[in-house]
């Protein structure tokens, strides 16, 4: 046995590739971003156009609708039409194409005009009267769902096969399966009609009589009181799917070698479940959270109808039945844009917490 020869000095690994290509990379990256943005804009345009066409091909124009309503509320037919056309700045005889061009111009200049039925407000002002309430409820619902869903989901994965897991899996699939509006309707029937413990009628609307909006706890408490049912309703489906997905993700992560290794390393259980299991299991959930936000806002229509919560969903349905074109278009565009932006934000956020994507992104 010969003495081992002194190993030749191991060359230290250089500090990554030379950075000279940096500006080029950045340019490529920029162009990738550009492509994404261009694609998103295209989608938004298409969505806007489809909405425009859908709305304009719906029978009845805003004047006719308002006139009909005034008519059945007491005005003579002629007077109703006159009143409606006094209020609504809409020319039913204008060509759809001219209107479309106008609309496109509005899109480009971010000025979609005023609400037809409420002409003193721009559509954005109009939408903003409602949207925040829905966003509040949906946001709180999703936060609730994330907190409950992720923790329960993780607990399920940890106790896979236990009665807790079985029970929660059933609950989860039940929540995901049954539409949230049915669930919340059932909650109301049981809580209000049968048991009489849920002050449902007081909970309708946004705030209670006499409470004035402002930055004070009374207002927030009251707003929360009114939003509780919507929040729960929005949380229902999301909680179920987060639970199940989190369980699946955690189960998968739990089989990953690095978790076994972490256990073998004798790390404290809390640390393992936090920075080894939790962090990795959450990665696939995050895009779903964004997706849920979009779906929930889109699906707020029925919930708000059932719960009598005057948010974006109610506004949208109102605007559609009034044929308030600008408002509908604006809402859809806002919705579409926020879905697109949400997915962008998720991408960025994922980069922050998943280092693997970052390098891919840079390479991309």
């Amino acid at each position: 046995m010969t003495a081992p020869a002194a190993p030749p000095p191991q060359p230290r690994v250089a500090d990554g590739p030379p950075r000279t290509a940096g500006s080029l990379l950045r340019r490529i990256w920029a162009s990738y971003a550009f492509r994404r943005i261009r694609q998103s804009v295209f989608v938004i345009w298409l969505v806007a156009t489809i909405t425009f066409l859908l709305m304009h091909f719906m029978p009845g124009d805003p004047i006719e609708i308002m006139a009909g309503r005034l008519n059945s509320a007491g005005m003579s037919h002629e007077q109703a039409v006159a009143t409606a056309s006094n209020i609504i700045a809409y020319d039913p005889d204008a060509s759809v194409w001219l209107q479309y061009l106008d609309f496109l111009k509005g899109l480009v200049t971010f000025d979609l005009g005023n609400s037809l039925t409420n002409p003193s407000k721009t559509v954005f002002e109009h939408v903003m009267e409602y949207l925040p309430w829905t966003l509040f409820a949906v946001g709180a619902g999703v936060v609730l769902a994330v907190v409950v869903g992720l923790s329960v989901g993780m607990a399920m994965a940890y106790r896979r096969g236990s009665w807790f897991d079985h029970a929660m899996t059933s609950v989860g699939s039940f929540l995901t399966g049954v539409p949230n509006y049915i669930l919340i309707a059932a909650v109301i029937v049981v809580g209000y009609t049968v048991l009489g413990v849920l002050p449902f009628l007081d909970m309708r609307g946004r705030i209670t009589a006499g409470v004035e909006p402002g930055f004070d706890p009374v207002f927030f408490g009251d707003a929360l009181f009114h939003a509780i049912l919507p929040i729960i309703a929005f949380a229902f489906t999301a909680t179920g799917s987060f639970m199940l997905n989190m369980k699946a993700a955690t189960t998968e992560v739990l089989t990953e070698d690095y978790v076994t290794v972490a256990q073998a390393r004798g790390l404290k259980p809390g640390r393992i479940s936090r920075s080894y299991v939790g962090r990795n299991a959450m990665l696939p959930i995050i895009p779903q959270v964004a997706l849920q936000l979009g779906t929930l806002v889109g699906g707020s229509i029925v919930i708000e109808q059932i719960l009598q919560y005057p948010g974006a969903g109610q506004m949208l349905i109102q605007a559609i039945s009034n044929r308030d074109y600008p408002v509908v278009q604006a809402s859809v565009i806002i919705l579409a844009t926020s879905v697109v932006i949400a997915s962008l934000i998720v991408d960025l956020f994922l980069v922050r917490i998943d280092p693997r994507i970052k390098t891919e992104g840079q390479d991309a």
């Binding site: 694609q39 295209f42 989608v43 938004i44 298409l46 969505v47 489809i50 909405t51 859908l54 709305m55 091909f57 719906m58 029978p59 699939s173 039940f174 995901t176 399966g177 049954v178 539409p179 509006y181 049915i182 309707a185 059932a186 109301i188 029937v189 209000y192 009609t193 049968v194 009628l201 889109g298 699906g299 229509i301 029925v302 109808q305 059932i306 949208l316 349905i317 559609i320 509908v328 859809v332 919705l335 579409a336 879905v339 697109v340």
Partner: protein
């Protein structure tokens, strides 16, 4: 190599070709019946389907308005009491299931069919069709489902039920399309597909005989889920009061309960709750059935 028939090989030739248990239907059947959950789900679904489709043939359809019988409590004669017109609530409930179920199933069938065909084509051939279809799904996904349905429903004022199926189906295909496409794309890269290509088996055979059977479980489970979702979309349209309503159905009952405040009135409880219960039961049935199927058909769970 010649194909002279070695007598020893005769034994091999005469062997049965395929066991029922190993066929897709067989696996479907075992999947549904083996696990208690899958079995229970299937029974539940079948029960509600029977209730809604056979029930109307069995029970007395004569259900007259009777102003002396408005909102009576459940009794031997009226199992679920009567409703606001004095009609028998149970009879109404029996008649209310068929439409949502068949319309939902039809919608899911159409969505699944479109998604599977387009998804396989897009995933397998990629290229321009894929780009176009993908963009289309982007758009479909971004437009709020209810807006689309609402506009179409308003446009065709008295839309027939199958028309609703089309509308609902067309809002649902996109998600399914994407997952099918993704699956096809990943399956396409699998080595057995490459092996089939190397044997020149032909694109259509590869897509439909090599790739799709591997997704059969996935497709079927998704179909079950789609039925569920389609029913909700339809019921949702009714709940919103956007549908021309003639035939009784669950959604209409819920709509009436809400728009006419029946839910405030304890006497009206059977009328208010039963459609909710039916929907919830049907969902539980479909979901557990789906889970049972998933376990039976998901290759990942099966391979072990």
């Amino acid at each position: 190599m010649t194909t002279t028939l070695d007598p020893a090989l005769n034994a091999a030739i005469t062997k049965p070709r395929k066991h029922f248990r190993e066929s897709f239907l067989g696996r479907l059947w075992t999947g549904l019946t083996r696990s208690p959950a899958g079995f229970a789900g299937t029974v539940l679904v079948l029960a509600i389907v029977l209730f809604s489709f056979v029930g109307p043939l069995v029970i007395d359809q004569h259900n007259p308005t009777d102003t002396t019988q408005i909102w009576t409590s459940p009794s031997a004669e009226h199992w679920l009491g009567t409703q606001y017109e004095g009609k028998d609530t149970f009879t109404i409930l029996v008649n209310s299931g068929a439409q949502p179920i068949w319309v939902g199933t039809l919608a899911a069938l159409m969505a699944t069919f479109v998604a599977v065909t387009l998804g396989s084509v897009a995933g397998y051939f990629r290229g321009r069709i894929d780009a176009v279809l993908l963009q289309l799904t982007d758009v479909t996904v971004t437009i709020p489902q209810f807006l689309l349905m609402l506009a179409v429903v308003a446009f065709f004022e008295d839309i027939p039920p199958w028309g609703i199926s089309i509308v609902v189906g067309s809002t649902m295909w996109a998600f399914l399309f994407r997952s099918i496409r993704a699956q096809v794309m990943s399956l396409k890269e699998r080595e057995f597909v490459e092996a089939a290509r190397l044997q020149n088996l032909g694109a259509s055979r590869i897509v439909f005989r090599e790739i799709l059977p591997n997704m059969a479980g996935f497709i079927f489970v998704n179909f079950v889920i789609s039925v569920n979702q389609a029913i909700y979309a339809i019921v949702g349209l009714y709940v919103l009061g956007l549908m021309p309503s003639g035939t009784p159905n669950w959604g209409l009952m819920i709509h009436q309960s809400w728009s006419q405040n029946f839910y405030l009135n304890p006497v009206a409880l059977p009328f208010v709750v039963t459609p909710l219960i039916m929907i919830v039961l049907f969902t539980i049935g479909l979901v557990t059935m789906g889970r049972g199927l998933d376990q039976a058909l998901n290759p990942r769970l099966r391979e072990r």
